[in-house]
């Protein structure tokens, strides 16, 4: 599936979710109109999306939290899966955009591609459920069950390689944090 198709599918089910996005998911998620008051980019700290989302999920237990993570990003702090599973927020939805590549730095293959199964790693860490989807239709079919499941859950979204220029939102994170905090204080 194309990355944009996955973003479009997520948009149909995001409701009033809080969200975190990182790397190449961040720009299309922003373009898709996620409210600036309900979102934080994990920017310039590759690997931190999972833990940033975990803080949001624990801090706002009445809101669902979507974490739009990358495969290479997750590998940077793979232990986060254990921490998320250990603290076990039921409102935590972890989406991994999986292309097996470090796209931003020139499409180098990530370690473990074709060998490591992130869904199995998540389940072995203690996530409640995990899905692997490879087409938009399959993703749209699974999303109602996913978003009605008790978290933490992980969804590996297989996306196609992209060779165009990489994009970053260019939105500083500090105002996002401040906007979010304003609605909670």
């Amino acid at each position: 599936m194309q990355r944009q198709e996955a973003i479009d599918a997520l948009c149909e089910y995001r409701g009033d979710c809080l969200s975190v996005a990182t790397m190449q998911a961040a720009s299309p998620w922003k373009d898709a109109g996620q409210s600036a008051q309900d979102h934080v980019d994990a920017s310039d700290c590759m690997g931190s999306a999972a833990s940033l989302g975990l803080g949001l999920a624990m801090g706002a237990p009445d809101r669902k939290v979507m974490v739009l993570d990358g495969d290479g990003s997750l590998l940077m702090q793979l232990g986060s899966l254990v921490t998320v599973a250990s603290l076990a927020p039921s409102n935590y939805y972890h989406f991994i955009f999986y292309n097996g590549l470090y796209q931003s730095s020139g499409n180098q293959t990530i370690p473990g591609h074709g060998k490591t199964d992130l869904c199995q790693v998540a389940l072995a860490s203690g996530y409640k459920k995990a899905w692997k989807v490879s087409s938009k239709g399959e993703f749209l079919e699974a999303l109602p069950e996913i978003m009605n499941s008790e978290g933490p859950v992980l969804i590996e979204i297989e996306i196609e390689r992209e060779d165009g220029p990489t994009r970053f939102p260019g939105m500083p994170v500090a105002p996002q944090i401040k906007a979010l905090r304003e609605q909670f204080t």
Partner: protein, 181 residues
Amino acid sequence: MTTANAQGETPDAVATSVSAKALAECIVDLGITHIITVPDTVQKTFLAYMEQQDKVKILTVCTEDEAMGINAGLYATGHRPMMVIQNNGFYASVNTLKALAFDAQVPTFMFVGQFGRDLTKDSNDNRRRGVRMLEPTMQTWGVPYYRLENPEDIGVVEEAYRKCQEVEGPVAVIIGAPTGQ
């Protein structure tokens, strides 16, 4: 390294224990809601003391990078978190420190234990690099820090917390000696 006597004291120490109870009272008075920790040997009695109370939630995590991410998420949702880590963990977290504590302007209040310190020497004169380089590393990054070397220094905890809210970034209290009961 000088060792403690049978009473648990180090006779010629320049840094001495601050009680876990005194630290806990400071933390509760400041309204801290969560302690996020990669456990630190120097602060083990403090962590054990905090585990026995129910005013502040204790979150034990795998890495200091994660601790900073969780700290940012909790802060963004209106809470007052802090971190309890050790010197080696501070070194491990610098990329996240840069992005979330500095660039994202998240108040990141942390107790950093001087693991491995020879208590008879100033930390900057210690043989162990992990001890000796902590303050220079914080100076290089512009992290404001306060030394908690003896029980009479306890006021720096509140001072450091206020500073952290004011600068909207990282501020450390360096725990110079193992915490007491």
